[in-house]
C-alpha cells in the first residue's frame, strides 16, 4: 500500500534541509542545489503517488489516515503525529510540491547572484535552500496534519520559514524590518489560532479525546446548543488566524512589505502556497463554519472587501512586485469570498489555478529584476518586450490568466467563485465583478508599462539581458498551467448541456471532502450569462488599460482626472499602516514608555523583588554548604531525627 510510505513525503525535504544545513557550505553551489531540488522532486513524486493511490480507493472510501506515531498521550487526551490524506489535502500537496519544485529549479539559477548582483557565496546559497526545504516540510506538515495541534505546528513552522526568507537579505534594513513586521502581524493571527485550539480543547477535548479533525467534527453531531453557540467564537478566532496568514483585512499589511524577500520566495511562499494556508484551514474546518453562519457572512465580506481594496491599491503601485503582492491579497480575498458563501470547491479551485499564474508572474518579475539589475519600478521600464521577448510572453500569459481573460485558467476559477457569490448575495457579486474589472486593468497596466511603449530609462534598457536557460523552462511549465489548469474545473453544467465527455473534474475529486454540501448551481441560462458578463468585464478592463497606456486616448486622461480625488487614498494604501501606527503601535509604545519610566519602580520592584528574594535564598542555602564535614553530618542526623519522629508518631 502506497499510504504506508506516506511519511516519505516529509522525510525527503527533512533530509534535504539537514544535508544542506550541515554540509551545504562545503559541497558547492551545484550539489547544494541538486540535493534541495531532488528532495522536493521526490516529495512531488510521492504526492503524485498518494493522489493516485487515493483515486484507486473503492468508491465509499475517500480518505486515509496514516499514523506516524502517537506523540502525546496523557490523561485521556491524545495528540498524534498522523497524516490525513484526502482529496483536499492531496490537492494541496500536489500544489505545494509541484509548484515548489518548479520554483526550486528556478531558484538554483536565480540565487547564484545576490541582491547586489554579485556572485552569491556558497554558505548563503546553501542556507537559502535549507530555508526553502524547511518551508516545504512545514507546509506539508500543515496540510497533511490530521489534527489541529499538528496543523498548528506546521502553521508556526511556515511562519518561521517565511520570516527567515523575507529577511534573507537581513543586512538591508528594509528586509529586516519587513521580516519583523510579517512576524509580528502574524503573531496576532497565530494568537487567534492558539486560542481557537484551546477553546476547542475545552469544548471537545474531554469527549473526543483528541483534536483530530475527525474527532472534532464527529463530536459536533452530538454537541449541545451551548457548544454550537460557542462555535461562533471559535470560528471567529480561526478567521483571525486565517486573516493573518492569508493577508486579509485587517492583517494584510505585512504581505506587500514581504516582497523584500528574493523573488522565488515571493512566488512560493507569498503567492502560491503559504498565504493560501488560511483558505485551506477554513475549508478544512467547514463543518465548524457551517454551524456558525455569522462567521460565514463575515468571511465572505472580509474576502470581498479585501479583494476590492487590494485591487484598487494595485492600480496605482509602480513597483512591479508590489503590484503583484496587492494582486495576491486581492485574489486571496476572492478565495475567502468563496469560502464565505459556501463555494469551497470554487475556492480550492481558484487556489490551485492562482498558484500557477501568480507563481509565473512573480518568477517573470524576478526575471525582469535580473535583467535590470534589481530595478522594479515600472515607471523606469517600457519597451522591454523587444529586449526580453521570452519574459514578455510569460508575463503576458500570467497577466491574462490573472485578468480572467476568457478560457484561461483564472477565468474559470474566478467565475466559479462569482457564481457562488451570485447565488448568495448580489452586493457581494457586484463587488466581485467590479474587482474583476480592476484586476484586468492593473494586470495589463503592468504589462503595458513595463513591456510596451518606449524605454523610459535608456541605461537600464541597454543593459537588459534575457533570462538564463535554467530559469526559462520552469516558467514555461507554469505558463502551461496558467493557460490550461482551468480545464480541470470546467463547469459541470457545460458537460450536461454541450455533451463534453468530462464534467467538473475538480468538483468530482473534492466532493468527498465536502460531503453533504451542495455547490451552488443555477439555471444554465443564468450561468451562461454570468460567464459571458465576467468575460466581458475582463475584456473591458483590458481595453481600458490598452486605451490608457498604449493608445493614451484623451478620454482616459479625463477619466483619470475625474477619479483623481481617490488617488491619495490609493497611493497611501488607505493609510492603513498609518492608522495601525496611530491606533496600535504608538499607544503601545506610549504604554511601554509609561511602564519603562512611570511604572518602572513598581513593576521592576515586584519582579526584581521576587528574583532577589529567591536568589538571596540561594545564597543563604549555598552558605549552609560550609564544606565542614561535621556540619554535614549534623544535617543528616537532624533529618534522621525528624523522619523518626514523623514515622513513629504519625
Amino acid at each position: 500500500m502506497i499510504f504506508d510510505y506516506a511519511w516519505l513525503i516529509l522525510l525527503f525535504p527533512a533530509l534535504g534541509l539537514l544535508f544542506n544545513a550541515f554540509f551545504g557550505r562545503r559541497v558547492g553551489h551545484k550539489v547544494a542545489a541538486i540535493v534541495a531540488n531532488l528532495a522536493v522532486a521526490l516529495s512531488f513524486l510521492m504526492a503524485v503517488a498518494l493522489a493516485m493511490g487515493l483515486s484507486a480507493l473503492p468508491g465509499d472510501e475517500s480518505s486515509v489516515e496514516v499514523l506516524l506515531w502517537p506523540w502525546i498521550h496523557i490523561a485521556g487526551f491524545q495528540v498524534d503525529m498522523a497524516l490525513l490524506i484526502d482529496p483536499l489535502s492531496s490537492v494541496m500537496i500536489l500544489v505545494v510540491t509541484g509548484i515548489g519544485l518548479l520554483i526550486h529549479i528556478y531558484s538554483a539559477t536565480y540565487m547564484k547572484v545576490d541582491d547586489e548582483h554579485q556572485p552569491m557565496d556558497e554558505r548563503r546559497y546553501a542556507r537559502f535552500f535549507v530555508y526553502m526545504n524547511l518551508f516545504i516540510l512545514m507546509m506539508l506538515t500543515l496540510v497533511l496534519a490530521n489534527n489541529y495541534v499538528m496543523l498548528y505546528l506546521g502553521w508556526e513552522g511556515v511562519g518561521l520559514a517565511s520570516y527567515l526568507l523575507i529577511g534573507f537579505w537581513f543586512y538591508k534594513p528594509s528586509a529586516a524590518d519587513a521580516a519583523k513586521k510579517a512576524f509580528l502581524v502574524n503573531r496576532v493571527g497565530d494568537f487567534g489560532m492558539a486560542l481557537a485550539i484551546m477553546w476547542m480543547f475545552f469544548l471537545f477535548g474531554k469527549e473526543a479525546g483528541s483534536l483530530s479533525f475527525d474527532a472534532v467534527f464527529a463530536a459536533l453531531e452530538t454537541a449541545s446548543p451551548a457548544v454550537v453557540a460557542a462555535l461562533t467564537g471559535v470560528t471567529l478566532l480561526l478567521l483571525l488566524a486565517a486573516t493573518g496568514k492569508s493577508a486579509q483585512i485587517p492583517l494584510f499589511v505585512w504581505l506587500p512589505d514581504a516582497m523584500e524577500g528574493p523573488s522565488p520566495v515571493s512566488a512560493l511562499i507569498h503567492a502560491a502556497t503559504m498565504v493560501t494556508a488560511g483558505v485551506y484551514m477554513l475549508a478544512r474546518s467547514h463543518p465548524l463554519l457551517e454551524l456558525a453562519p455569522a462567521t460565514m457572512t463575515l468571511i465572505a465580506w472580509i474576502g470581498g472587501l479585501t479583494a476590492l481594496m487590494a485591487a484598487s491599491i494595485a492600480i496605482v503601485q509602480t513597483d512591479l512586485k508590489r503590484i503583484l503582492a496587492y494582486s495576491t491579497i486581492s485574489q486571496l480575498g476572492y478565495m475567502f469570498l468563496g469560502v464565505g458563501v459556501g463555494a469551497y470547491v470554487a475556492s480550492v479551485f481558484h487556489l490551485y489555478t492562482h498558484a500557477f499564474f501568480k507563481a509565473l508572474l512573480f518568477l517573470a518579475a524576478g526575471s525582469v529584476m535580473h535583467a535590470l539589475h534589481g530595478e522594479l519600478n515600472i515607471d523606469l521600464m517600457g519597451g522591454l518586450r523587444k529586449k526580453l521577448p521570452v519574459t514578455y510572453a510569460q508575463f503576458l500569459i500570467g497577466a491574462l490568466a490573472l485578468a480572467g481573460f476568457p478560457l484561461l485558467s483564472g477565468y474559470w476559477s474566478k467565475d466559479a467563485i462569482l457564481l457562488g457569490a451570485f447565488v448568495t448575495s448580489y452586493p457581494l457579486y457586484a463587488i466581485g465583478l467590479f474587482t474583476a474589472l480592476l484586476t484586468a486593468f492593473y494586470s495589463l497596466r503592468a504589462v503595458y508599462r513595463a513591456f510596451h511603449g518606449q524605454p523610459r530609462d535608456e541605461h537600464l534598457y541597454d543593459h537588459a539581458h534575457e533570462q538564463p536557460r535554467g530559469m526559462t523552462w520552469p516558467l514555461w511549465a507554469l505558463a502551461f498551467g496558467a493557460v490550461f489548469a482551468g480545464l480541470l474545473g470546467l463547469p459541470a453544467i457545460f458537460g450536461k448541456e454541450f455533451g463534453f465527455p468530462v464534467g467538473n473534474l475538480i468538483e468530482g475529486w473534492l466532493k468527498p471532502t465536502f460531503e453533504g454540501l451542495s455547490e451552488p448551481h443555477v439555471a444554465f441560462s443564468t450561468e451562461m450569462a454570468l460567464f459571458i458578463s465576467s468575460g466581458f468585464v475582463a475584456l473591458i478592463g483590458i481595453y481600458l488599460a490598452y486605451a490608457r497606456y498604449v493608445k493614451q486616448s484623451g478620454w482616459t486622461l479625463s477619466l483619470q482626472k475625474a477619479l483623481s480625488p481617490l488617488q491619495p487614498a490609493l497611493e497611501n494604501k488607505y493609510w492603513v499602516d498609518e492608522i495601525y501606527f496611530a491606533v496600535i503601535v504608538n499607544p503601545l509604545r506610549a504604554l511601554a514608555r509609561f511602564f519603562a519610566t512611570g511604572a518602572e519602580g513598581v513593576i521592576d520592584g515586584v519582579v526584581n523583588g521576587v528574583g532577589a528574594v529567591t536568589t538571596a535564598a540561594g545564597v543563604g542555602i549555598a552558605r549552609l554548604q560550609t564544606g565542614l564535614l561535621s556540619w554535614y553530618a549534623l544535617s543528616l542526623f537532624l533529618g534522621v531525627v525528624l523522619l523518626l519522629i514523623y514515622f513513629v508518631f504519625a
Partner: protein, 488 residues
C-alpha cells in the same frame, strides 16, 4: 541447596558485568608496558568494558518480557529491574566514552578505574533486583565503596581526595542507619525477606522506626534534602565522567530499590510514607533549584540541578501508581541522556591544569557559540531539556510526572514542581545566555580540543534527548506495557 537448581538466567546480565570487571582487573598485573602503550592499553580496556556493558544490555533486552524470581526469593528480575539495568548500562557506557580520553590525563590506572566502574554497575543492578534486606545492603555497599574510590581517583587533585573522603564518611554514616533499620525490621519480623516483612510486621515502633531508618539510607543515595550535603562537594570534586555516571546510576538504582521496598515490604499505610516522601520531594527540588541559582561553576550548578531533578523523580514514588512508576522510569531515561550530556559538555570546558580544581566555570563558557557552535548547541539542548522545554525529553518527563501526581491526587505537589521548574529555568537559561549572547574574552577565545569519543557520547545524548521527546508517546506506552505487568 543445589547450585544447579538456581535460576542463573535471572542474574545473567549482572554476572557478565562482574566477569568483565574481573577480566579488566586481571590485566593490570599482566606484563610490563611502556607509558605510551599504557594509554593504548587503557583504550583497549575501555573497549572491553564497553563490550561487557553491551552484552549485559543485550541480555537484559532479551529477558525483557521474562519476569523471574530466584535465589530463594532474594532477587526479583522483572520489568522494573530490566529497565533500570538499561538506564544504568547506558549511563556507564556514556561514562566510559567520556573517560576514554579524560582519564589518561591524570592517571595510568586504567584497569582499576574500569573494573571499579563495572563493580559499581553490578552493585546498582543488584540493588534494583534485591528483594531481601541483606542482598540489598551488600549491593548498596558494593556500589558505594566503588564510587568512594572512583570519586577520589584523581590523586593529583586535593578537591578530588577531599570529595572522596567526605562522601565516604557520610556514606558510612548513612550505611549505619540502613543496617540499624534492617536490624529493627529483622527484630520485628524475624525475617529479612520483603514478603515476610510485609506479612509479619507488627506495625509498632520497631516496624516504623525500621522503615524510617531504611528511608534515610535511600534518601542519602538519592541525594534528597536534608541528606544531600555531600552531593555538591562530591560531584564537583570527582572526575567528571564519574560524576556523570553516579549522578544518574546511583539515583536510578536507589529510586527503583526504594520503590520495591515501598511496594512490597512496607506495611505502613500509604498516606504515612507518601507524605514523608512528598515532603522530601518538596524540600529536595526547592533547595536544589534555589541553591543552583547563584552558582558560578557549571559543574557545581549541575550538581545542585541533579539534586532538584531527584526531587522531581520522587514525585513518581509519591504517586505510587502505575502511571507514577511509568513516569519515573521515563524520566530516568530522559535524565540519563540530558544529564550525562550536560556533564560531558562541561568536562570539555574544564581547564587543562590537573593539579588545581579544574572547574568548568561559567566564564569558560562565555561566547562558546561563536567559537564552537555545535558544542554550544548541544549544551543548550541539554539545558533546555533539563529545564523542561518542549519538545525535548525533559519536557515530556516532567509532563508525565506531574500528570501522575495530579492523577493520584497530589495536585499541590505538582504545582510546587511547576513553580520549581520556573525557578530552574533561570539558571539553566543563564548557561545558554552566557554561551550565545556574551562575547568571548581573551582567555576563552581558544578552540577547545574535543576528542572523538566525547563527540560520540554527546551525539548519543543529543539524539536521546531529542528522540525521547519527539517519540514520547510510543516510548512511554512501551514502558507502560511492561510496567503494568508489575503487581501493585
Amino acid at each position: 541447596m543445589n547450585l544447579s537448581s538456581l535460576n542463573w538466567n535471572s542474574l545473567l546480565p549482572e554476572l557478565v558485568i562482574v566477569a568483565t570487571s574481573l577480566i579488566v582487573l586481571i590485566t593490570a598485573v599482566v606484563g610490563k608496558v611502556s607509558r605510551v602503550d599504557r594509554i593504548a592499553r587503557g583504550h583497549a580496556l575501555a573497549v572491553v568494558t564497553l563490550i561487557g556493558l553491551l552484552i549485559a544490555a543485550g541480555l537484559t533486552i532479551m529477558q525483557l518480557s521474562q519476569p523471574a524470581s530466584d535465589f530463594m526469593g532474594m532477587v526479583q528480575s522483572d520489568a522494573l529491574s530490566h529497565y533500570l539495568n538499561l538506564v544504568i548500562l547506558l549511563a556507564a557506557a556514556l561514562a566510559v566514552l567520556l573517560a576514554w580520553d579524560y582519564l589518561g590525563r591524570f592517571t595510568y590506572s586504567f584497569s582499576e578505574f574500569y573494573s571499579l566502574l563495572l563493580l559499581a554497575v553490578a552493585g546498582m543492578m543488584f540493588l534494583g533486583k534485591s528483594t531481601e534486606l541483606i542482598t540489598l545492603f551488600v549491593s548498596l555497599e558494593i556500589l558505594s565503596i566503588s564510587l568512594y574510590i572512583l570519586t577520589g581517583f584523581n590523586r593529583h587533585q586535593l578537591a578530588s581526595a577531599e570529595a572522596s573522603l567526605k562522601y565516604f564518611l557520610l556514606g558510612a554514616f548513612a550505611s549505619g542507619f540502613i543496617v540499624y533499620g534492617a536490624a529493627l525490621l529483622y527484630g520485628d519480623t524475624g525475617s529479612t525477606w520483603f514478603s515476610d516483612i510485609a506479612a509479619n510486621a507488627s506495625g509498632g515502633f520497631l516496624t516504623l522506626a525500621g522503615f524510617a531508618l531504611l528511608l534515610v539510607g535511600f534518601a542519602f543515595k538519592i541525594a534528597a534534602v536534608p541528606f544531600h550535603m555531600w552531593t555538591p562537594d562530591a560531584y564537583q570534586g570527582a572526575p567528571t565522567p564519574v560524576t556523570a555516571f553516579m549522578s544518574v546510576g546511583t539515583k536510578a538504582a536507589a529510586l527503583v530499590a526504594l520503590f520495591r521496598v515501598l511496594q512490597s515490604a512496607v506495611s505502613a499505610p500509604y498516606e504515612t510514607w507518601a507524605w514523608a516522601l512528598a515532603i522530601l520531594s518538596l524540600l529536595t527540588m526547592t533547595v536544589g533549584n534555589v541553591a543552583a541559582l547563584r552558582q558560578t561553576s557549571i559543574k557545581r550548578l549541575l550538581a545542585y540541578s541533579s539534586i532538584a531533578q531527584a526531587g522531581y523523580m520522587l514525585i513518581g514514588l509519591v504517586a505510587g501508581t502505575v502511571l507514577g512508576l511509568q513516569a519515573m522510569l521515563f524520566y530516568l531515561f530522559a535524565y540519563a541522556f540530558m544529564n550525562i550530556g550536560a556533564f560531558a559538555c562541561a568536562s570539555l570546558l574544564e581547564s587543562d591544569d590537573w593539579s588545581e580544581l579544574q572547574d568548568a566555570s561559567m566564564a569558560n563558557a562565555r561566547g562558546l557559540f561563536s567559537r564552537q557552535p555545535l558544542l554550544a548547541t548541544a549544551l543548550a539542548i541539554f539545558m533546555f531539556s533539563l529545564a523542561g522545554i518542549p519538545p525535548l525529553a525533559g519536557f515530556f518527563g516532567k509532563l508525565y510526572l506531574f500528570d501522575a501526581a495530579i492523577d493520584a491526587g497530589w495536585l499541590w505537589l505538582a504545582l510546587v514542581a511547576v513553580i520549581n521548574s520556573v525557578i530552574s529555568a533561570y539558571y539553566y537559561m543563564r548557561v545558554v545566555v552566557v554561551m550565545f549572547m556574551e562575547a568571548p574574552d581573551e582567555s576563552t577565545r581558544v578552540r577547545l580540543p574535543i576528542p572523538d569519543s566525547a563527540i560520540l557520547a554527546i551525539v548519543i545524548a543529543v539524539l536521546g534527548a531529542l528522540l525521547l521527546g519527539i517519540l514520547a508517546g510510543p516510548s512511554f506506552a512501551s514502558l507502560g506495557q511492561a510496567v503494568v505487568a508489575w503487581r501493585f
